[in-house]
């Protein structure tokens, strides 16, 4: 108590403590300006939503009731879509394991992980659709082009996620394995992989889910699966059929989400 009394008032707040600075105000001003600028660029016309609501109603009405007459072919192509996602994801996981390890700063020196990371960035930066269009030129129309597109893009994504998990490991068990005289690869197999396995599985399942979504889109440029049908019915103004196709995609994607959530729980 006596000690507290001797401390001069205000001494308890650290020097240079919180001050609502000019810099903060400036930051908010910049943010507001960016929003305004983007409003113009993005051609935002919210009033049109209300003005053209009559059109919208007519348009929406055409979607219902959904037309399931062709359901057999929808289902067949939806399953092909899942097949594309399965292979695209599995190939990506196989490649992402070494690529992920090679882009982890605690596993390899900078002159290895920096270039590998840049390559992975490139794989990730370009959308599956773009890759799909390129691969269609290379391997022709059909699901295989879709698989290749998903493979490249997902490898980039998973490698980054995998390496982030590796960089967050506890180094002590690895050192424990090192102390036994093991090789560098054994160190990874016994010390690193067991630690990152739950996260890696979880990331892989998540990517599989999102690849089912992506696979239904890559079809729109001709890379096989339900996307091809979706593109045709939209271009043909067959909105009732479009609705049926969308319902099938929603059903599949949600059930795969549910199943993989279950599977994920098993591993964590």
């Amino acid at each position: 108590m006596t000690q507290a009394a001797t401390i001069p008032p205000g001494a308890l707040s650290p020097p240079g403590g919180p001050r609502r600075t000019l810099a903060q105000a400036f930051g908010w001003a910049v943010f507001a300006l960016v929003l305004l600028w983007a409003w113009k660029g993005a051609d935002m016309r919210p009033l049109d939503l209300w003005k053209d609501s009559g059109n919208m109603k007519v348009f929406l009405a055409e979607f219902f009731p959904p037309d399931f007459r062709e359901w057999k072919s929808y289902l067949r192509e939806m399953i092909v879509t899942v097949h594309i996602a399965v292979w695209g994801t599995v190939l990506a996981i196989v490649c992402a394991v070494p690529c992920g390890l090679l882009s982890s700063s605690n596993i390899v020196p900078w002159w290895v992980y920096q270039p590998v990371r840049r390559v992975m960035d490139a794989c990730r930066a370009i959308n599956e659709m773009v890759f799909a269009m390129l691969f269609i030129v290379a391997v022709g129309l059909g699901p295989f082009a879709g698989v290749l597109a998903l493979w490249i893009h997902t490898t980039g994504t998973l490698a980054k996620l995998f390496s982030e998990a590796v960089e967050a490991i506890d180094p002590r068990p690895v050192e424990g394995v090192r102390a036994t005289g093991s090789s560098a690869i054994e160190e990874i197999v016994y010390g690193v992989i067991p630690q990152v396995m739950p996260l890696w599985i979880s990331y892989s399942l998540y990517r599989f889910e999102s690849n089912v979504r992506s696979a239904s889109v890559v079809g729109m440029v001709g890379a096989g699966g339900i996307g091809v049908i979706l593109y045709e019915v939209i271009r043909g103004f067959e909105y009732a059929q479009t609705c049926a196709v969308m319902l099938i995609i929603i059903t599949f994607v949600s059930s795969i989400d549910l199943i993989s959530a279950r599977v994920r729980k098993l591993f964590i």
Binding site: E175, G176, V177, R178, G181, S182, I185, Y190
Partner: protein, 285 residues
Amino acid sequence: MSTGSSLSVRGLSKSFGAPQLALSSVDLDIRPGEMVALIGASGSGKSTLLRHISGFVAADAGSGEVKVGERTMQSGGRIARDIRHLRTEVGFVFQQFNLVGRLSVMTNVLAGLLTRVPAWRSLVMRFTREEKAEAWRALKSVGIENLAWQRASTLSGGQQQRVAIARALVQRARIILADEPIASLDPESARNVMEILARINREQGITVLVSLHQVQFARRYCVRTVALRLGEVVYDGPSEALDAKLLRNLYGAAVEEMLDGTETIDAVMNDPVVAEGLRPAAASA
């Protein structure tokens, strides 16, 4: 019966970039089969020295040499090229056990014999019946074979440390470096782990160099003690000569940390066996 390795450290210095040396021209010789305690307050360089011996860290350029048996682990600040292979002979027991928590106790112990397993089998974690039997025997010798198939993370600290010792045994290490192996354990487990290290030393002739925070354990379990202060060897001699007076001379005020009356110390001191062991030291005071 394997025989232990000798250890020789010559003029080892390490600065870690700071002006204060972490190790200052350390010389140390240990004969095969000795059990030596390495004591010192925190920051005195115990861990640093052990990590240099195992070749985890390189000494300052041009300084020193570490030899285990006939093999040079590092010299002149350069770690041996085949250090991974050389480490097979040197078991290391860590303060935090350093087991892989998600693997079974058995697999953790089997990790000790990776150097003797062909790569194609070790990488898929396949081990022969004989290899598993050897790991089992090691676990049995530290008294936890009944936990072999549990995940390592489910074990208590004392049990985990025993797994780590079993790993060093399966490794067929001829010298065991133990870096504060009991600092994270309760008094009972601490005593148990020290007993096991002493028994391995006695029965299998494996050389043991164990760093300890508290002097009482050194006096109880090791004939010889090496004391470090600020990276220098300030004492190397019989453990029983290390009484409070000598320690105070060596460490000044920092000695309280090494003699403090924590429950760990009390439990050991109150143990009749330990009290017996301490008597000569007390008499010479």
